[in-house]
């Protein structure tokens, strides 16, 4: 079953000269974890906005085609009614704090309060969201005291509290340190196991390779590549659109040129694939260590 359907979507921001998205068609299945990659300004953010209704409900530009979230045409919805179905997480953790709640618990409750959810249900939803993102012990902390990674998880919990089945994240790790990045990806894996549909824009190829089911590469507002992680992340087209292979792929590619990587194997995109490939080639490893 498809929970996100985009049909020949073209969108231009009011003040821009050229469209940010050009003729995008795309369907995403329930439970899928899809990564959007692309150089800066390739349209990743705009696509995230389109999937969550921010385009065209907040950014009103030239919009044609259609975006359906669980069968609902986004143009006919409001941002808040869509928030029950799709949660949007932005790049900068700090900008997503409501700014009027003094504890982590109340920050998560903010969206629920706006929907008029009764107190007992708030307690339950927030407690669940807190444990889902691993912040159960931080409920009474001030959101400002958290680390970047924790703040970003708080932002995720805040949109999850409205229990959407789909989560859209726009480069959630850009402003995080390595530990924060790791915590976000572990959380995404966890959410995927819980059956959430996840779409996330990201630059960090090596992490995407580990976690995504499918990868979509954008350039100039168009979909250039779409397919399994191996198909997309080992494609030579990647370098032409301002991206690059992961180090594992590069190593194996160099090795392949010297017949040090088995021809029968596709190029690796993760650590374990690289290890498997290099071990297969030299089973009688003579190198001592």
């Amino acid at each position: 079953m498809h929970c996100l359907e985009i049909d020949s979507l073209t969108f231009r921001y009011p003040t821009a000269q050229s469209p940010a998205l050009k003729d995008i068609s795309l369907t995403i299945r329930k439970g899928e974890c899809v990564a959007l990659i692309g150089a800066n300004n390739s349209g990743k953010t705009t696509l995230c906005y389109a999937l969550s209704g921010i385009v065209p409900l907040y950014y009103r530009g030239e919009f044609s085609g259609s975006v359906r979230v669980e069968g609902l045409e986004t143009v006919n919805q409001t941002i808040s009614s869509l928030s029950r179905h799709v949660g949007l997480v932005l790049q900068h953790p700090k900008h997503q704090l409501s700014g009027i709640r003094y504890t982590v618990f109340e920050e998560i409750a903010f969206g629920l309060e706006n929907h008029g959810i009764p107190r007992d249900n708030i307690l339950q939803c927030v407690t669940e969201a807190l444990s889902l993102v691993g912040l159960s012990d931080a409920g009474e902390c001030s959101p400002l005291e958290l680390s970047g990674g924790q703040q970003q998880r708080l932002a995720i919990a805040a949109v999850l509290a409205a229990s959407p089945d789909i989560l859209v994240l726009d480069e959630p790790t850009t402003f995080l340190d390595p530990r924060g990045v790791q915590s976000i990806f572990e959380l995404l894996a966890n959410l995927k196991n819980k059956g959430k549909t996840i779409v996330f824009a990201e630059q960090k190829i090596e992490w995407i390779a580990e976690y995504a089911d499918r990868i979509i590469a954008l350039a100039g507002g168009e979909i250039i590549l779409s397919g399994s992680p191996t198909e997309v992340l080992t494609s030579p087209i990647l370098q032409k659109i301002g991206l690059d292979w992961s180090r594992y792929t590069k190593v194996a590619d160099l090795a392949r040129q010297r017949q040090l990587w088995p021809d029968s194997l596709p190029l690796p995109i993760t650590f374990s694939e690289a290890v498997a490939g290099f071990s297969a080639k030299s089973p009688s490893d003579t190198c001592a260590d």
Binding site: G99, E113, S142, E145, A155
Partner: protein
């Protein structure tokens, strides 16, 4: 450790702390109206000051309140005493003569009255600021059914402030690292204003969209009944007092207009 408190609030569990924020606000208004418009200016002000001191002792904030109060009022009182004591146009009863200058009784009396009035209003305001957690004020505003925008506008600046102050410091460092002179001659300092405040303002304005989107996806602006996790205690008695104070305020204002 990031700075998280930017207000005068001192946590506590006194009766004054637990009062509904609107009652404390109404009390400030009542104080102001009484001392400036009511009959018996100085006497009323003196009574209210004593009352406020009692409240402050009860709320265990007397010393911090006293500290802010005298630091604010002492310079005012000195300036006022000197200026009015010497130059108030109504002066004619000489109190002390200093060569060809004289200190007059009318000016000193005037100063005394104004300082009393200010002390009364200031202490009532400080009681509010010291004993009200901003979150309670925000909650009270939303529970009263006022627009969510108002609660947001009252609350969010307080939480945005620490981060913005930090940014201001970083901007100063970044621009000085680019050779900007911030301590030189007056003209240099004037020229430094633009490179210092432009990044602060433009950077903050560029964030607005993201913050607005983050609020919208959490249904900030939707019509309809909202709930509140945080509770602000209210009671019939408090409600009675609140409206009582409002009535007295209206009475004093009308009295003033009639006379």
């Amino acid at each position: 450790m990031p700075e998280t408190h930017s207000t005068l609030f001192i946590p506590g569990d006194s009766r004054y702390h637990r009062l509904h924020p609107f009652n404390k606000l109404a009390y400030i208004l009542l104080t102001g109206v009484t001392v400036y418009l009511g009959p018996g200016k100085s006497l009323a002000a003196a009574c209210l000051i004593i009352l406020n001191a009692g409240f402050a002792v009860e709320a265990a904030i007397f010393i911090p309140l006293w500290r802010v109060l005298w630091r604010t009022l002492l310079p005012l009182a000195l300036y006022m005493g000197i200026i009015h004591g010497f130059f108030n146009p109504a002066n004619h009863t000489v109190l002390i003569s200093l060569g060809n200058m004289s200190v007059y009784q009318e000016g000193i009396q005037f100063t005394f009255t104004v300082v009393l009035q200010l002390s009364a209003v200031l202490s009532a305001s400080l009681l509010f600021a010291f004993c009200t957690h901003p979150a309670d004020l925000i909650t009270a505003v939303s529970q009263a059914g006022w627009p969510p925008a108002l609660a947001y506008l009252l609350g969010s600046p307080l939480l945005l402030l620490p981060a913005m102050r930090e940014r201001a410091r970083t901007i100063q460092a970044a621009q000085r690292a680019r050779g900007l002179e911030t301590h030189g001659r007056l003209s240099q300092r004037f020229r430094a204003v633009f490179p210092l405040i432009t990044p602060l303002i433009l950077g903050a304005i560029v964030e607005i969209e993201q913050r607005a989107i983050a609020l919208e996806v959490r249904s900030f602006n939707i019509p309809g009944k909202k709930t509140s996790w945080r509770k602000v205690t209210d009671s019939v008695v408090q409600g009675f007092f609140r409206w009582g104070m409002v009535t007295v305020i209206i009475m004093i204002v009308t009295y003033r207009f009639i006379n």
